[in-house]
Amino acid sequence: MDRMSKSPYRLLVVEDENVVAMDLRSSLIQLGYEVVETVATGRQAIECVSREHPDLVLMDVRLRGDMDGIQAAEEIGRMGVPVVYLTAFSDKSTLDRAKITGPLGYLLKPFDERELHIVIEMAVHRHRAQKQHDQLVREQAERAALEEEHRWAQFLADASTKLSSSLDLQTTLEAIAQLAVPMLADLATVHARTERGFETLAIHHGHGKEGLLYELSRRYPPIPELPHGVPLVIWTGRPELIPEVTEEFLRAAAQDQENLELLRALGVKSQMCVPLASRGETWGALTLAYAESGRRYDDEDLARAVDLAGRCSIALDNARLYQQAKEATAHREKLVQDLERTVRFSEQFVGMLGHDLRNPLFGITAAASLITRRADSEAIGTPARRILISASRMERMIEQLLDFTRIRLGKGVPIERRRVSLREICELVVGEFEQTGESAVHIQSVGDVVGNWDADRLSQLLSNLVGNALLHGTGGVWISLDGTEADYVTLRVANPGGISKEMLPVIFEPFRSAADKKQERSSGLGLGLHISQQIVSAHGGSIEVTSSESEETCFTVRLPRDARISDPTLRIREEISLQ
């Protein structure tokens, strides 16, 4: 025989009748097989198989001892070694019992060598074919599993990309529902727990039944009493798998007959529901279901759904944070806009009010002037003059408010330049103060103090500085003009008495001096110095104040003689303040 050239099959003979065993053994050797052992009991057979791993076991059905051949064959079959029964018994019950163990052959005694040979060859051959087939199936399954694993990894990678592509909450929720189909479901829904109950946030159906799904979620949102599905998953934070959605399940889930009809129409066969969490708290659930595809979910699918939900949760956290940040920004922008509008309105209002107040104020002034002109006694003239003094104070305040409003609206102080002498302006202003009974203002001047300036504005500036010095100083005001420089004229207004260290840095800010509680004699709005500063900078000049608390306060104004000249120190200071 040609197969003898290869290594012979190794056989184990299990036969408790010694003569038969010896006979069989010599027949087998005759046929060219190797007999690894001849044993008499089932236990010996099992022990030998585990030690020798024969290619085939020839098993007598009836054996001595506590284990017959069929029982031994069962055990040996589990060890992956094929069995052929040799027996004289052929009754139905023995055959039935033997069949269960899946023998590869059944040889009835007595048999001849030829029969023995054919049965052995076929049995070993079939066993090997079976083994090869099993191996193939196993390999295919492994390959399929590997491919599936790869597809899943690819899917998760795609999912992560899609989920992170948008920071919009609703877009992300819809992306989640769409992602699951068709890889993991025929239809998917995203639910959230809100104050109003369980709300459907997103829906996707891979087979065009989205309308039905919408109707179901609109008319029959999950009710908290439901002992499964969305409410349970959100409540417990644990995933739920329903491998088989049966008619009974649908009946239990339906809230009424119509709901049941809709559920039947949807035709879900298998479903799972996984929690969506944010910072450890379950706020929603992703429900996945198979219907049209007829597929069924298992534990592995559930693990994947949980994996997907985890990624979704991260994406949703990001989307939520972004949404919150966006809302906060929008809110802040609206507040700023409202505030700007309010500020602008109030500034415009002040401006309008200023204009409108001038008319009645003129009415008061005109009438009071008329009285002073007609008055033939001090008894009438004096109170009329008091009216005029108050009215002119009020007039100055209105002027300041209007200037301030113009400055705040970014229009600056308008300047009309013509050639004027600063000395003449000083004398005019001081003259006015002397008329009102104030005195002791000294003017000192060196060099040429003429320039292209707005005379009215410089009068206003001087009036503010001198008025300020008279009000806060402890006696006398010294004005000095220095026109010895080619491009600049320097004006100094000094008075004995200091300004507090706290006031000094904010002295040019609006409403400061009026707000200073220590100032008892303050009679204005606290805008004088602020406007003075604006007048100086509109002329391209600079203003500074120095003060030693107990000794002297001095305002120094440097005015370029011409609009073309601007103070370089001013520009540097502006740059510093910009930084």
Partner: protein, 115 residues
């Protein structure tokens, strides 16, 4: 010589009447109008020589409209005008401007110089 006449145009009655009293005290014949249209009507029967003290912002016909109408009529275009306003930027070109509220004495001096 005719009595010098002044037409006061202002929508504020207190201002109108105070100015009238002050001007009458100075010996002027004073006419009052509360808007430009009234002023135009009065202008026709005003004795000469005369001058106008004109407010700008008024209902019915503004000071600017009145001034334009005056300038368009050769019989009025030579009448001197003092604009009294709280907003000097609105005043037409080429007129004397007195900013409200103003000093009554200065106004009277200014008016006196017009004749």
């Amino acid at each position: 010589m005719n009595q010098r006449a002044v037409l006061v145009v202002d929508d504020d009655a207190q201002i109108r009447e105070s100015l009238r009293d002050a001007l009458e005290d100075e010996g002027y014949a004073v006419a009052l109008a509360k808007n430009g249209r009234e002023a135009l009507q009065i202008l026709h029967r005003l004795s000469r020589p005369c001058a106008v003290i004109l407010d700008l912002i008024m209902p019915v016909m503004s000071g600017n409209e009145f001034y334009a109408a005056m300038q368009a009529d050769p019989s009025f275009s030579d009448i001197p005008v003092v604009v009294s306003t709280s907003d000097a930027s609105r005043a037409p070109n080429g007129v004397l401007i007195m900013k409200k509220p103003m000093d009554l004495a200065r106004l009277l001096t200014t008016v006196d110089k017009l004749f």
